[in-house]
Symmetry: C2
Subunit: 261 residues, 2 copies
Amino acid sequence: MGTTAKALSLLDLFTPARPSAGLSDVARLSGLNKATCYRLLTELAAMGLVEQAGPAREYRIGPAVLRLAALREAAVPTREAALPVLTRMAEATGETAHLSHLVAGRLTTRAFVYSRAHATKVMMEDADILPFHATASGLSVLAFLPDALRDSILRHPLAQYAQRTPTDPAEVLAQLDGVRRAGLAEVASAFEADVHGIAAPLFGPVGDVIGATAIATPASRMTPVLHARISREVARGAAEITAAWGGRAPDEVAGRWAAAA
Amino acid sequence: MGTTAKALSLLDLFTPARPSAGLSDVARLSGLNKATCYRLLTELAAMGLVEQAGPAREYRIGPAVLRLAALREAAVPTREAALPVLTRMAEATGETAHLSHLVAGRLTTRAFVYSRAHATKVMMEDADILPFHATASGLSVLAFLPDALRDSILRHPLAQYAQRTPTDPAEVLAQLDGVRRAGLAEVASAFEADVHGIAAPLFGPVGDVIGATAIATPASRMTPVLHARISREVARGAAEITAAWGGRAPDEVAGRWAAAA
DNA sequence: GTGGATGGTTCATTATTCAAACCGTTGGTT
DNA sequence: AACCAACGGTTTGAATAATGAACCATCCAC
């Protein structure tokens, strides 16, 4: 791993759950030497990618990323293009629709839309990193990933989040054939207890998987009727977002989605 | 300059006017060796900070910045805090209000709000980098910058953007005393022809200047009455945004602003 | 005041970056 | 069709930078 990759990997330590961290934390979490972290953070700070705040001089993401993100959305309005579709998905089902994006081997929450149909709903957080093995979005991505990438992901230990999280790679792999056939993935109570998710992959220009869209429902509300409606909406939404992003789903998947919708 | 700084400096080559660039462009613009650029870009791409797109394989800002920006706004909602103030400034004056942020020695457009009062208005672009010597925002920042930083900025050649752009550092310096006294800066037809700008600096927790807010007007519309109204609104807006961001203006400036508003 | 944590610094060893040249392709000119 | 220039990408020994273990100084709980 080059120096630049090390520096950038420090940025990935910051999450909604841990928005800031001290020097020693960074060193521990990254596995890098403290002196190295110090220098890398100092350089990142000089460019505004991180900044030090508060009396504890903790590091957090800096303001320079705002400029970069504005540039990115202006050049490639992925979020803007997807939001109307997510909104329709949420409204048609009365549940929470969301979208995640595969970036640098991580599945990142990019957008979500709530429905106001029910007093209870599944809450989401922006910029969260989703586990592949415990979410419907993750499974739908995993199913269409090149073998080498999928293997390298499943080689890492699979964290247990809820009672029904599959922690055995074989157990995960066994589900993927079904996902490939249906173009949809489904998971219940694997990441968050009592949350039921149905997801579909999103594809890039050459049929490569680049993310997923999903609808999340409190498990108690799931019925066969709702299940059918959600499956239909997810298939339709995934087809539309893939198209809006200039992507192209593999013919087999496109056919399944068309049949479902 | 360390390796990390070099890699990150490549990100600054991308602007609204040049959202993507090829390898050779990057090498030329950055002044770095082509092989070095290649390796740096490859590492940046592996982390999703840049990506290659299109048949020409040009590089552009990648999707990873969206996650970082979402994290940043969640932790430090600068934009969200400033927008209501900008909106009021735009409505009270009928002109374009905007906000720029000093990051890593660069003044970056962070937000703007148009008014619908007139058919003509000054248009802005997000993520633009503003020249210090040719904009009211730039002058208001320059006036309150530590001497060393100001000198290092004025040491670079001052580009000519319009007829009345001051290109002599002495000419710029001569204006700064007035800016410091008033807590406001004013510039006409220096960056864009026929645009008149009035700006005020924004301050951080220890009275350090961290940006500026401004109102931009088509020069043809400027009158003494409008000038007075804009000055009042800018002073009030700057005080409010500084406060909302947890900053503290130097006593002298705070006094001037209070008197103006 | 002592122990243990913190942020920050030093310096010989080691790995990376540099510049310049070289491939194979692409797109436009003659 | 032959040519040329520019492109993205890759290779080389010589120059330059990053690295990590140990080391300070400071803070804070006990």
